[in-house]
């Protein structure tokens, strides 16, 4: 039986990818960010998953205004890093896991979550920056990845509650897969940031740290946070944090199991326009 072993949460700031790709990691400004991931890279080597289920959002890259799926699961064999306007990142192609992805799609749709199934998609920094942060700069990513894209660009985006419930459905789906696979679920995006308008540059450390506390100890309460609180307190792009709730909902304790164990917690301001938050929880 397949099972979810751990969840990872991290911001996916594009400038972090640029810093890595342009060899700026030794600069003190970026050292402050990357040192928060030293533990995580080692942890991932010691706890290698067979598959990563990676929840992210597309930033008007694969999905234009032609189609705006709320939840889209990638069932392809591979995905190429996208050209977001600066040219594609020089990172490995992403190998998928079509069998498990299709299984999850079937199971989750049968649990009343209407996923969009994607067989062709380029992946942007939302997906590749978390891989870089957790894996460094390898020639190939260490395991297959199932991309799961959430619309957080055009409102209304899915509620935190729906994301949390979806996480529970994903856990069930993984557990009903016959293959013996260790699966990690990663929730990415956030933390507080606003990229638009005269209020750009907003960051809220108190909100972010309270969110981390709540996500760890009272995830159901974190799921109940309404959209407007994210917008007002964490900036218009802080809404990305709803994606963390999908990963949190997939942990055992969200479905009555024993409490998730915190292996790592990190918070730093700033990376470009954004507050960087990072957590690792194990079942």
């Amino acid at each position: 039986m397949a099972r979810i072993t751990a969840s990872v949460y991290t911001s996916h700031v594009p400038a972090i990818g640029a810093a890595l790709d342009l060899g700026k990691t030794a600069e003190p400004y970026w050292q402050n960010v990357f040192k928060g991931y030293e533990f995580s890279k080692q942890w991932l080597k010691e706890n290698p998953p067979d598959v990563v289920f990676l929840v992210f959002n597309d930033h008007a890259t694969a999905f234009s205004l032609d189609m705006i799926p709320t939840f889209a699961i990638g069932t392809a064999a591979e995905y190429m890093p996208a050209d977001e306007g600066w040219g594609p990142r020089a990172v490995p192609r992403v190998v998928g896991h079509p069998e498990l992805a299709s299984h999850i799609a079937q199971s989750v749709i049968q649990q009343d979550f209407d996923l969009t199934i994607v067989n062709k998609m380029d992946v942007d920094h939302g997906l590749t920056v978390p891989l870089s942060l957790m894996c460094g700069q390898p020639d190939a990513w260490p395991c297959p990845v199932i991309p799961f894209a959430v619309n957080v660009v055009q409102y209304p985006v899915p509620s935190g509650q729906r994301c949390y419930n979806l996480g529970k459905a994903i856990r069930k789906a993984v557990q009903s897969y016959d293959g013996d696979l260790k699966v990690q679920i990663w929730g990415t995006g956030g933390m507080s940031h606003q990229l638009q308008g005269p209020r750009a540059g907003l960051i809220n450390r108190e909100f972010d740290n309270a969110f981390l506390d709540k996500l760890i100890d009272e995830p159901a309460a974190a799921a109940a946070i309404p959209h407007i609180d994210y917008v007002r307190e964490a900036g218009s792009e802080g809404i990305e944090l709803v994606m963390w709730l999908i990963a949190r909902g997939a942990m055992d304790d969200a479905s009555g199991g024993s409490k998730a164990v915190v292996r790592h917690r990190f918070y730093h301001v700033p990376a470009s326009n954004t507050a960087v938050g990072h957590l690792i929880l194990e079942n």
Partner: protein, 133 residues
Amino acid sequence: MALDKPYLDVPGTTIFDAEQSRKGYHLNQFCMSLMKAENRERFKVDERAYLDEWPMTEEQKQAVLARDLNRCIAAGGNIYFLAKIGATDGKSFQQMAGSMTGMSEEEYRNMMIAGERSVEGNRRIGETPQEKK
């Protein structure tokens, strides 16, 4: 019946909802076209001619030509789409974000290095801005 839009009183913030998306459809799709290198080249050669290939409003075209991202957003643009214009110009996300705040590039960068824009005084329109703690 009116839709529930509790976010209209957040200062300096335009939420890209279904209504904004409808207004900005052609503007945002023009931005998407800049993800292809050959389109970026054609746009740089003659911006006005390239914009005229799109059924955008004159206001949208003028806002793009002026690189006024606040005007673009008011006309239905979304920052993740508009970022393709900045990428074409060789600008970073921080330069783009800063350009909307009325601060110089350096002032904005320094604000972010020093910490951030505080949420205090920035939650609701009409709230008195307070000194950062």
